[in-house]
């Protein structure tokens, strides 16, 4: 059995972009994910953070083979998914599940909650029909919904309630890995805490591994063992969760951490943020060298020379040529 349940090697996902109103010309490629290498150990929670549009959801959808990979490999439990047939990919769903950022789009509006939760059980032959209602009821309880929710349809629920249905659906097959894209952003803090406790319990009891995408850095810090920080399709910092948030090394991570809002009105009104100069770069036309250099307070001319590699720095990995001097 390989040590790592999931391995990503130099994963790239590019989209062609068209422009113009009528005959839309191809004008270039969005390099949404551009060379990501990551591993996920059994029972590990890896937090994935980064600016909106930096490629987190695209990476998640690439891992699940929901969009075609442009280059590189995704290896789940020793099997290479990037070359798998559609049958093999369907079978991999037994081990690998995803919770989508947008629960409105991921739940079929014409399927009752019972149908949505029992479908994966049936497809993978995991539960005899006479026991299904009981299993579905327990799944709903697990995510803090009343069992009578199973007769209802998605539109009858609030945003946070729908997100919990989506989480229950991912949990139904008892997967080994869940890629959770903003799974708790739509939830109030108390239910958010219940779901996060549930995920850590599943990880303790069943060795569940998790890629946890979120923008709430205090949540990410709380649940993750390691955190990967993405900027424009690449990982720029990777290390132990508390270290990355408490002593960020990469200039982008520093700016990100300084923007974390605090639940305290007085400190919110007085504190200093590192305001990022300039606009986020276009993924269609990324700056030469380090993609962060146009907005970086520490940039020097060499930063434009080459894309910096992720290199070891004080027990973590950082992609910045100046990291030891700043």
């Amino acid at each position: 059995m390989p040590d790592n349940i999931l391995e990503l090697r130099d994963v790239k996902t590019h989209f062609t972009v068209r422009s113009g109103l009528l005959r839309r010309r191809e004008v270039g490629a969005v390099k949404a994910v551009d060379g990501v290498t990551l591993s996920l150990a059994r029972g590990e929670v890896l937090g994935l953070v980064g600016e909106s549009g930096c490629g987190k959801s695209t990476l998640a959808r690439t891992i699940l083979s929901l969009i075609p990979i442009s280059a590189g490999t995704v290896v789940l439990n020793g099997r290479n998914l990037s070359q798998a047939s559609s049958e093999e990919i369907a079978a991999s769903r037994r081990d690998l599940q995803m919770v989508f950022q947008d629960p409105y789009a991921s739940l079929n509006p014409r399927m009752s909650v019972f149908a949505a939760l029992s479908e994966p059980l049936r497809v993978h032959g995991l539960c005899p029909p006479n026991e299904t209602p009981e299993r579905v009821a327990r799944l709903l309880e697990t995510v803090g919904l009343p069992t009578n929710a199973m007769r209802k349809y998605p539109h009858e629920f609030s945003g946070g309630q729908r997100q919990r249905i989506a989480i229950a659906r991912a949990l139904a097959v008892g997967p080994k890995v869940i890629v959770a894209d903003e799974p708790v952003s739509a939830l109030d803090v108390s239910i958010q805490a219940q779901i996060l406790n549930l995920l850590s319990q599943l990880r303790r009891d069943m060795g569940l591994s998790l890629i946890f995408i979120a923008h709430d850095l205090s949540v990410v810090k709380h649940v993750s063992d390691r955190i990967a920080v993405m900027y424009l399709g690449r990982i720029v910092e990777l290390g132990a969760a508390a270290e990355v948030i408490d002593t960020p090394a990469h200039p982008y991570t520093r700016a990100l951490v300084s923007a974390i809002p605090r639940p305290d009105p007085d400190s919110e009104r007085t504190r200093q943020r590192i305001v990022l100069a300039g606009d986020p770069p276009s993924p269609m036309n990324p700056p030469a060298g380090c993609a962060f250099h146009p907005r970086c307070a520490f940039a020097v001319p060499q930063c434009q020379a080459a894309v910096p590699a992720l290199e070891p720095f004080r027990g973590r990995e950082v992609a910045c040529i100046r990291v030891s001097e700043i």
Binding site: F15, V17, L21, V49, G50, E51, S52, G53, S57, Q101, D102, Y104, A105, L145, P146, R151, K152, E156, F157, S158, G159, G160, Q161, S185, A186, D188, V189, S190, I191, Q192, A193, Q194, L196, N197, S200, H215, D216, L217, S218, V219, H222, A242, A255, L256, A259, I260, P261, R262, P263, D264, P265, D266, E268, R269, L276, D279, P280, S282, M284, N285
Partner: protein, 324 residues
């Protein structure tokens, strides 16, 4: 007079499984230029409060059972269709929690952005497009000119959310109802959007009804906050009071669950039990079954919001009696 005055709003859903009292007697007002935060339990009726004001409650199964929502002298729940058209989407606009259901997947982003302008303002397509481009840039979409004619699925989750924000702000409304506008955004973009909202408030005197579960955002943005539980307001106060001297046991429990204030590794504190099923009527205080301080009398009688300090209202009977 306040810009918006909501009085005893009740919005119920009549479904096969019973009557859901989504909003059950809510009263509040929003002054010109102020930011009122609404926080609370998932399913407590925050979004439905916003939909009711915007006239977007699906009817049936929804029904506005009672109440009024007076905006600048006009009751939005009872005015003529012509009055409604003149106000909604122009002087009052809303950012929705779910960008994908409110953006039409088959229409280009440019078409959706200029639509409110073409409806409400007598301007040409070209002028409208220029305004749309300006607004897209203001919400931080880089290369706006290159992307404005794209379709929603070509944008990331956070970019769609910003397109939504742009459609709501483009008509320069007097009141913006923002339902979880920044939950899909990373903290740097979030800070940028909140700054944009503050700027529009300064420049246009725009008032904001800010619905969120993110207490940290509330701390930095809102002048006042009200807390909802099971379709009712349980506490309302200015932001500092609500954070530093909360009274209602639900507000206190909510605050204690914030992950930022808890040690890593340990389980997070939660509120035990589940929120009440809104289709079963409850006597007394809806929070009583989960409340650490509840006693037998909490589950009987009626609960009323009552003042406990200047501009501070709360609904716990034990707090009102000075017992806790």
């Amino acid at each position: 007079m306040a810009l918006l005055e909501v009085n005893d709003l009740k919005t119920y859903f009549h479904t096969r499984s019973g009557v859901t009292r989504a909003v059950d007697g809510v009263s509040f007002s929003v002054e010109r230029g102020e930011t009122l935060g609404i926080v609370g339990e998932s399913g407590s009726g925050k979004s439905v409060t916003g939909y009711s004001i915007m006239g977007l409650v699906p009817q049936p199964p929804g029904r506005i059972e009672s109440g009024s929502a007076v905006f600048d002298g006009v009751d939005l729940l009872r005015c003529s269709p012509a009055q409604v058209r003149a106000i909604r989407g122009k002087r009052v606009s809303m950012i929705f929690q779910d960008p994908m259901t409110s953006l039409n997947p088959y229409l280009r982003v440019s078409t959706q952005l200029i639509e409110p302008l073409l409806i409400h303002e007598k301007i040409s397509r070209m002028e409208a497009l220029a305004r749309a481009l300006e607004m897209l840039e203001a919400v931080g979409i880089h290369d706006a000119a290159g992307r404005i004619h794209g379709y929603p699925h070509e944008f990331s989750g956070g970019m769609r959310q910003r397109v939504m924000i742009a459609t709501a702000l483009i008509t320069r409304p007097a009141l913006l109802i923002a339902d979880e506008p920044t939950t899909a955004l990373d903290v740097t973009v979030q800070a940028q959007i909140l700054e944009l909202i503050r700027t529009m408030q300064r420049e246009l005197g725009m008032a904001v009804l800010f619905i969120t579960h993110d207490l940290a955002v509330v701390a930095g943005l809102c002048t006042r906050v009200q807390v909802m539980y099971a379709g009712r307001i349980v506490e309302s106060a200015d932001t500092r009071t609500l954070f530093y001297a909360p009274k209602h046991p639900y507000t206190r429990a909510l605050q204690a669950s914030i992950p930022a204030t808890q040690a890593k590794g340990a389980d997070l504190r939660t509120i035990p039990g589940m929120p009440p099923d809104p289709s079963r009527p409850l006597a007394g205080c809806a929070f009583a079954p989960r409340c650490e301080s509840a006693i037998a009398s909490c589950s009987a009688g009626t609960v009323e919001l009552a003042p406990i300090g200047p501009g501070h209202l709360q609904a716990c009977a034990r707090v009102q009696r000075g017992e806790i």
